[in-house]
């Protein structure tokens, strides 16, 4: 019936609020206008300053800084390191993500649903927590595993996580989930008759896999690996936690370095940021082109189920391989962090003598930085998610419900932050608000702005999806029944879209709670977040308190994720906006 309803409206562009009174117009204009102004102030204005900064403004106009960003040996080294990191992570993403995806999507390997969930967990964990966990596991000398290796007596074989390989590995353990999920989705939606016809023509199982299945999902694999590679370049956490101690510098940490000295070198940071943005944007556009070819994969309509391969005797060996992958990416890091959180001394095993709750007391109350961090992260994440959703709703409303000129442009601008690593956004915000007439620089407000800006793509997409679910005739019916625009939004639109809007809210809230890469450049004394507390306390070697903070963060993230999944499942099953016949 829904299709019929849409067909009926076909050719007649709708405008729920095209007509209105002067008063109604004013309310609408003010509401929507405020959101647009906030949006431009949070993204457009800082981006201008990033470009200005890179050419030396407001001092002397000069290409000097951009040239230096590309020629100075330290900068070239950072660029090369970043490129090598991206390549390494992309390749590892394919090597790990694709076989695991094939195993869980298309074979009868045992515990496949558990493995699937654990890959998701690896992606949800903020990668700097994984880094902390690997410091505990593979730190030189003191790391659990390194002591284990040393006890076997084999000399010179200890693994040092503070290395380029370590950074690449830890990041790969986080982002391999991207090619995994894309490949998984593609494998699930391959029309089984395409494979079956190859079998009918005499192709064996492996020939079919190699000649039919893999080529069909190749765009998802390539696109996923590229996305993982792009993502890896922006991950300040592991680059700082594991790279800086070994003096291996990447673009984000190089930018951080330019700003953490005295005086901060804004122009250099801006020029380097431009380089990072260019690399990111080029990567993203290549990735879009690859995923654009996804149309090979026909999405099966009525529950077309692709057959699972019976592995026979290989079932358990394959399960063991998957177990190693998820152990390295999620189980071991989690276990190590939780164990350390309850330990008096993290290097000792978690025996009864060593158990304590003191670390949690320190994290939540005694340690000023940690306690402030927990409080700040919560209020920032809640405020950022709410504000981002309000702006996102306004932009989505303009796009879907009005015929205002330029509405598409807003929608497009909103996805811009996808190409802006957190570090770059911070550099832009710093310069934009350092001279702003209202004191925002050096307060918690600049963090709020950063979080809102970073979450704009999710918020706008989420609000857009939620509004699309509501047929415009539902609002029009309310108007004809006598409701004003505001009443219609309040009593019809928002209640119907509520469940999807809450889902989007959580999707903004979760990353905001653990945000590090922009925060680290924008916080000041008093506005520390959980992530900053973890960063600073691990610098001081207080790994037990760090582990307790991490555990708190992980628990909150897990609970929020479960609520999100529950909401998503309910949203799919339950309310449809146009009543079905």
């Amino acid at each position: 019936m829904r299709a019929a309803a849409h067909a009926g409206a076909g050719g007649v562009p709708t405008g729920a609020g095209e007509a209105s009174t002067a008063a109604g117009d004013a309310i609408r204009a003010v509401t929507l206008g405020l959101a647009v102004v906030a949006f431009l102030l949070f993204i457009g204005y800082p981006l201008c300053w990033l470009v200005f900064g890179a050419v030396g403004l407001p001092g002397d106009f000069s290409p000097h800084f951009l040239v230096r960003a590309l020629t100075r040996p330290e900068n070239v080294a950072a660029l090369v390191n970043t490129a090598l990191l991206a390549i390494g992570v992309g390749l590892l993403g394919i090597v790990i993500g694709v076989p695991v995806a094939w195993a869980t999507a298309r074979t009868d390997v045992p515990l496949r649903n558990v493995f699937h969930a654990l890959v998701g967990l690896a992606y949800i964990l903020p990668p700097y927590l994984t880094s902390v966990a690997y410091i505990i596991l593979l730190g030189p000398n003191a790391g659990y595993l390194n002591r284990l290796i040393a006890s076997t007596g084999i000399h010179g074989s200890s693994i040092n996580i503070f290395s380029a390989a370590g950074v690449t590995f830890v990041i790969a353990m986080h982002v391999y989930a991207i090619p995994y999920f894309l490949t998984y989705g593609a494998l699930k939606s391959v029309d089984p008759s395409l494979e079956e016809s190859a079998r009918m023509l005499g192709a064996g199982r492996w020939t079919m896999l190699r000649r039919i299945t893999l080529p069909l999902v190749a765009p998802a694999i390539t696109g996923g690996a590229l996305l993982a590679a792009i993502n890896s370049m922006a991950l300040f956490g592991p680059q700082a936690f594991l790279g800086l101690p070994a003096q291996i510098v990447y673009l984000p940490t190089r930018i951080y370095g330019a700003l953490s000295g005295y005086p901060p070198r804004y122009a250099d940071a801006s020029a380097l940021s431009i380089v990072l943005v260019l690399v990111t944007v080029i990567g993203l556009s290549v990735q879009r082109r690859y995923l654009g070819h996804r149309s090979f994969v026909t999405v099966g309509g009525r529950g077309v189920r692709s057959a699972r391969h019976a592995l026979g005797a290989l079932r358990w060996p394959l399960a063991l391989v998957l177990l190693v992958v998820v152990a390295l990416s999620s189980i071991a890091p989690l276990a190590v962090l939780v164990a350390a959180a309850f330990s008096k001394v993290w290097t000792e095993p978690l025996t009864l003598d060593n158990v304590t709750l003191a670390n949690f007391v320190a994290a939540l109350a005694d340690n000023q930085i940690a306690a402030r961090g927990v409080f700040n992260s919560f209020r920032l994440a809640i405020a950022a998610a709410t504000l981002a959703m309000l702006i996102g709703l306004a932009i989505a409303y303009l796009d879907l419900r009005t015929r205002l000129r330029g509405r598409r442009l807003l929608d497009y601008l909103a996805i811009l932050p996808l190409g802006l690593p957190g570090t770059v956004l911070a550099v832009a915000l710093l310069q934009a608000f350092i001279r702003f007439p209202v004191p925002i620089y050096g307060t918690i407000w600049i963090l709020l702005i950063a979080y809102v800006a970073r979450s704009m793509p999710i918020a706008v997409r989420g609000a857009n999806g939620a509004l699309r679910q509501v047929d415009v005739s539902l609002e029009e019916a309310a108007r004809v029944a006598g409701a004003s625009w505001l009443t219609t939004v309040r009593r019809i639109l928002l209640p119907i879209a509520r469940s999807n809007l809450m889902l989007a809210w959580l999707l903004v809230f979760i990353p905001a709670l653990g945000e590090l890469s922009a925060t680290i450049l924008l916080y000041t004394n008093g506005t520390e977040t959980i992530s900053v507390a973890i960063f600073r306390l691990s610098d001081l070697g207080q790994l037990e308190v760090v582990a307790a903070l991490s555990t708190v963060l992980i628990v909150v993230i897990l609970v929020a994720t479960l609520v999100t999944q529950w909401l998503a499942a309910r949203g799919r099953g339950g309310t449809s906006a146009v009543p079905n016949m």
């Binding site: 019916a477 004809v480 019809i492």
Partner: protein, 360 residues
């Protein structure tokens, strides 16, 4: 009182002109249908009437008061109209009662009055006892009635209906037609009804406004539109029609009398001609399939007679539909089942001259 005047109404979307200058006068308590194929501008006209869209040019007046023009548009909530949407647009987060009562809760109305009036509206459409259900728990026909009750509860002077029956099955559709017509008589509300179904339009309307490509083609009572269509488009759109191209040979001496049209070198038809037709003018003669008689023997002389050969026949239950090859054209003939004719049989077709209608 609710009399609607539409003057010079224009509305376009980007490059597409949905309504290209519409003039229409709708009387109080009249049931008027806007009829036409999809894309003809009928739904856009209805949305302009509702105040959901603003016109590019022209104006709409209700009882002499301008509600839509280039200068401004009275918003839908202030027009006191009711509207039934094609999708019904029932709010899924409200019960049936809440849906119906919504319009009343927006005004200063006491709780008791809201309850009474909502229940009365539900009773009017035969939905007593379903007030507590959610829309999703109702059948399509019931949803349609809720939408109707919701639009009636505020006692509008004008009710706009956008293909309200198109999502119902054929049987229910016919029953709802009768109920809608009955409802309109009882309430005295001016109905403006949009549909692409010509049978529905004829069954319901006092007058039909046939639209095509954003322009009004004809505005008249159903019978007049069916029997004397103003142009080929209407003749073809309003049911089946045999359309024969011809040239005028004789013009009637008295207005309204019969003229003669040559549709083939060997064949002349007596036909009604449009006013002001001149000799040698080319025009089209429309003959409805059900107006043609089919016989084995030559019929009486005062009818138009066309000899032919049966090419095919299909039995439709209440009717038999023949295709007959004549000198000038393949003609479609519909007769009640009586004598059956075989394929390739030689037959005579005959039509009363008054049933042959010349169209420009």
């Amino acid at each position: 009182m609710a009399q609607i005047s539409i003057r010079g109404l224009k509305k376009g979307f980007d490059a597409h002109h949905a309504v290209r200058g519409l003039d229409l006068e709708i009387q109080d308590k009249e049931f008027v249908t806007l009829l036409g194929p999809s894309g003809c501008g009928k739904t856009t006209t209805l949305r302009l009437l509702a105040g959901l869209a603003a016109p590019d040019a022209g104006e709409i007046a209700i009882d002499g008061q301008i509600v839509s023009s280039k200068r401004g548009v009275l918003p839908p909530e202030r027009r006191r109209m009711g509207m039934v949407f094609q999708s019904y647009a029932l709010w899924p987060h409200m019960s049936v009662f809440e849906n119906v009562a919504f319009g009343l809760t927006l005004k200063r109305t006491s709780r008791r009055e809201i309850r009474e009036r909502a229940e009365r509206a539900l009773a009017m459409v035969g939905l007593e006892g379903l007030a507590a259900r959610t829309p999703a728990a109702l059948s399509g026909g019931q949803q349609q009635r809720v939408a109707l009750a919701r639009s009636l509860v505020t006692e509008p002077a004008i009710l706009l209906l956008d293909e309200p029956l198109s999502n119902l099955d054929a049987k229910l559709r016919e029953r709802m037609r009768v109920e809608l017509k009955d409802l309109q008589r009882r309430t005295g509300i001016t109905f403006v009804y949009v549909t692409h179904d010509q049978a529905e339009a004829m069954a319901l309307s006092d007058r039909i406004a046939v639209m095509n490509e954003g322009l009004l083609q004809q505005f008249a009572a159903p019978r007049a539109i069916y029997e004397r269509p103003a142009n080929r488009f209407i003749a073809d759109f309003m049911g089946a029609a045999n359309l024969l191209a011809g040239m005028v040979e004789e013009v009637p001496s008295v207005a309204g009398a019969l003229g003669v049209v040559r549709v083939d070198p060997t064949l002349r038809l007596q036909a009604l001609l449009p006013a002001g037709t001149t000799k040698d003018k080319t025009l089209t003669v429309m003959i409805r399939p059900e107006d043609i008689a089919i016989t084995r023997d030559a019929p009486e002389r005062d009818r138009n007679i066309l000899p032919g050969i049966v090419v095919s026949s299909s039995f439709l239950g209440n009717l038999v539909d023949y295709s007959v090859e004549t000198a000038c054209l393949m003609l479609r003939v519909q007769v009640s089942r009586g004598t059956m004719f075989e394929r390739a049989e030689r037959v005579y077709l005959s039509v009363e001259p008054e049933r042959c209608v010349g169209i420009d």
